[in-house]
Amino acid sequence: MNPLSWLGTRRQAMDSEQQARLARLPTPQALDDTLLERCRLVVVDLETSGLNVNRDRILSVGAVVVENGSIDLGSQYECTLFQENHRVTESVLIHGIAPSEVARGVAPADALLDFMAFADNGVFVAFHAAFDQRMLQRGLRQTLNTRLRHVFLDVAELAPMLYPEVTGRKTLDDWQDYFQLRNSQRHHAAADALATAEILLILLSRARAQGIATLAELNSRLRHWRRLRQARIGSL
């Protein structure tokens, strides 16, 4: 079995309805002067068949929206994608999505279109966002033949930046512990997204207290923080 079978070669052409849906997707939010509480923050968590961003596939998408400083529990999103030839890998042990469940899922093109419609023009937020960003990029390119233009904010960066006094917390579990958040259904895309969103609420509150009001201000603080961190790592 060719592990690359999902790439390019077997891509199915989109039907006209799917094309139309793709065309209707809005222009994403830029990191501009929009107030933090005014924008749609889409906290996303992808469960994948493994950790290789070039080879593994998206199994399910979970998302929770933070808007106006609150999580709307009525509009959570989760979708298990229908993927042919899904095999059991070590990842199954983490996310617990059985092959049978994947087989019952929704066709990737529909699922991703639906997800992008749900995300709307929002800013994506994830824990270790680079991974989710690249997985989603590849998924969109290969399935919908389109480029992902949404921006991503990384909770794994925001948390240590806004809580410099906290050291040695690296994983989502670590930060959940630190903020004493209980979450029984971890490693389920929707549950992980909700856990990340809860942390995001705390971070937004802290950001407000530190005078960070807009996306642009948050982004500039982040760039500054990354440079500082680089410098510190370099000096070691």
């Binding site: 529990l73 989760e78 899922g105 529909d110 958040l181 029984s184 929707a190 809860e198 609420l201």
Partner: protein
């Protein structure tokens, strides 16, 4: 199944797990635990999750009418009210995980009157006003809770307590039930000149145990019972043609039909009679018998009172005491409140004490000096539970110090005998020797007066402690006029002695209710009492001390804590809402304590007032915490009143 359905279904199951998680969370807290799952799911789908950093205001009076309903998912919210002359705002309430707010403001479509502030980093589930209204109209348990707040939970607790106790007894009605609801048949009655024989035939045909003798206008004149018939037959001359009025008991006990089953039980116990007429506007409307009240019970209230009053020996009295324990069980089963139960227990204890005194006099010989038997402390307050010790004294009259000494010498041996006999009946001897056999507590009226005056005049710590015991004061046996006179002197002196009041207030603040700022309850950290709190000293103490101080300072002579609070409410010394909250809080703590004692009794463990809050269910814990908080508020108001 088409693609859209498939998509919707797969997504829904997973998201439902988040929703399910929140439903599960809500289901561990009242009132949500009583709501239908569909209503809960709807609630969660309407909800937003919000975060509030410690110190952040959540709702403020100036925000205008409240637009949202909040459920604390995690953290602690504090209600603050600014009090004039206080540098820090007064915390009026705390709202913890699983609790919700603001109910009154939402229902009243107004702004909150209290600033709600996050005391810790907190997450709240919120729903918009419209969703709250929908939920309110759809879910009965939610509506009940929203309208009646914690009181509706108190009902639940009482139902629980009742259910628990009734599992062993099978009781079907509440002691709060109106008498006219309990009494089914219309009363059997006859005119005074009815011959005995035909009256008895009438009783026999209706198969009832009593007949009421009335005049033409149905005003009750007397009662004739099977007991009277037995005595009549046993006597030598039986003439069944005589009019019934010649053998009836005149002036029968009467209550209005709106009185409660508990009122009837109290009247029957006090006078040890088994029948009470229901009289409305002077007309007989029914007869309630003991059988109507306690039909299914092994323990028989009136019979027990009678047997206690007529017990032929102290040994017999002691043996009868175990019936009182069964009685408490059955009263809990009938939904009696803790106040009602302690009053009944006190009544039986009074019967026991009186009988002990009578038996002791008979055995020892009458000392020839009339005396009154006083009791202090919890017995004085009529708040005894099964766990009781002796606090008593004697009062007699004497014209001179010499005569007082002489009479004391005569009375002390009898007092000692009474104390020992009471000990035999289960009233533990007082460790502090506050007993009538102590020469310092067997005093003439004048000596008592002087003793009380000393306590009030010099406020040493020892005297303050004494005031806490002696000023909960009651006469159980003998003439009460002299004692009442002494006590009204005490009230006058305390009323005009603000220094003494202030010292008492300080004393009343000594034992802090066991709730902390962050954790639910403050419990002992180590030792044999690890993880427990003292429900009597820390929980009841603040109410008892506070009510005593305010009652004494305001010339209120009753000694029962609930009655004191009620009178303080009537006289406007306490705000009505505050007084009601104190009364509910006090009663609940007492109920928890009593249930614990019953449990210990069943398991044959020694009585203890140490309670492990973790042994309570979620509902009881929450109300206990609320009750302790009321104790804290009472202390706070004392501190303000007396500038401490």
């Amino acid at each position: 199944m088409n693609k859209d359905d498939k998509f919707a279904e797969a997504g829904k199951t997973a998201v439902m797990q988040n929703v399910q998680g929140l439903i599960g969370f809500l289901q561990s807290y009242p009132p949500f635990n009583l709501m239908e799952p569909a209503h809960l799911a709807w609630l969660v789908e309407q909800a937003q999750l919000r975060f509030f950093a410690a110190g952040e205001p959540i709702l403020q009076p100036q925000d205008g009418p409240v637009q949202r309903f909040f459920i604390v998912k995690q953290g602690l919210i504090r209600g603050e009210r600014v009090v004039a002359d206080a540098d820090r705002p007064d915390t009026t309430f705390e709202i913890g995980t699983g609790e919700c707010f603001p109910l009154a403001a939402l229902l009243g479509e107004r702004a909150t009157r209290t600033l709600h502030r996050a005391a810790q980093d907190s997450f709240c589930l919120t729903i918009e006003r419209d969703a709250f209204v929908t939920l309110f109209s759809r879910s009965l348990p939610f509506r009940d809770f929203a309208l009646r707040g914690v009181s509706s939970l108190l009902d639940q607790v009482n139902q629980q307590a009742q259910k628990q106790a009734s599992e062993t007894l099978g009781a079907h009605y509440s002691l709060d039930a109106r008498l006219d609801e309990l009494v089914g048949h219309s009363p059997v009655h006859c005119l005074p000149d009815t011959p005995i024989r035909s009256a008895v035939r009438q009783m026999h045909e209706a198969s009832i145990g009593s007949i009421v003798i009335t005049d033409e206008a149905l005003a009750p004149l007397g009662i004739f019972t099977l007991r009277d018939l037995r005595a009549l037959i046993a006597s030598d001359e039986v003439d069944l043609t005589r009019p019934l009025s010649s053998v009836m008991t005149p002036d029968p006990a009467a209550l209005p039909s709106s009185a409660s089953a508990f009122d009837a039980a109290i009247a029957m116990t006090r006078r040890h009679i088994a029948h009470i007429c229901l009289v409305d506007d002077g007309r007989l409307t029914g007869v309630v018998s003991e059988r109507d009240l306690f039909s299914l019970q092994r323990v028989n209230l009136v019979h027990l009172a009678r047997t206690l009053r007529q017990a032929e020996s102290v040994e017999r009295l002691a043996a009868l005491r175990s019936h009182i324990h069964q009685l408490v069980d059955s009263m809990l089963a009938h939904g009696a409140s803790s106040g009602q139960i302690t009053r009944i227990i006190t009544l039986f204890n009074d019967h026991t004490v009186c009988r002990v005194i009578e038996l002791s006099i008979a055995e020892h010989g009458d000392p020839g000096v009339p005396f009154s038997w006083l009791c202090f402390g919890s017995e004085g307050r009529q708040e005894q539970t099964l766990h009781t010790d002796q606090d008593n004294g004697m009062m007699f009259s004497a014209a001179s110090p010499e005569q007082a000494e002489e009479r004391r010498t005569l009375l002390l041996p009898l007092a000692d005998k009474i104390n020992q006999a009471l000990a035999q009946c289960g009233f533990t001897l007082c460790k502090g020797n506050i007993m009538a056999s102590n020469p310092e507590l067997c005093l003439s009226a004048r000596e008592w007066q002087a003793r009380f005056d000393r306590i009030i005049a010099s406020t040493t710590p020892a005297n303050l402690l004494k005031s806490a015991i002696y000023f909960d004061f009651r006469v159980v046996w003998g003439d009460r006029r002299a004692a009442d006179q002494v006590f009204s002197g005490v009230l006058r002196k305390i009323g005009s002695n603000t220094l003494f009041q202030q010292q008492m207030a300080q004393n009343a603040l000594q034992h802090r209710p066991p709730i902390g700022r962050l954790r639910d309850f403050v419990v002992a950290r180590s030792g044999a009492e690890k993880d427990t709190l003292d429900i009597k000293v820390q929980g009841l103490g603040p109410f008892v001390d506070g009510a005593r101080l305010l009652a004494l300072a305001n010339g209120i002579a009753v000694s029962n804590t609930l009655e004191r609070l009620q009178q303080l409410r009537q006289r406007g010394v306490l705000d009505p809402l505050d007084a009601d909250a104190y009364i509910e809080g006090y009663q609940f703590i007492q109920l928890v304590r009593m249930q614990q004692h019953q449990q210990q009794e069943r398991e044959q463990r020694p009585f203890s007032n140490r309670l492990d809050p973790d042994s309570l269910n979620q509902l009881d814990r929450r109300i206990l915490r609320e009750s302790f908080r009321q104790a804290k508020r009472l202390q706070g108001s004392l501190a303000l009143r007396y500038n401490l």
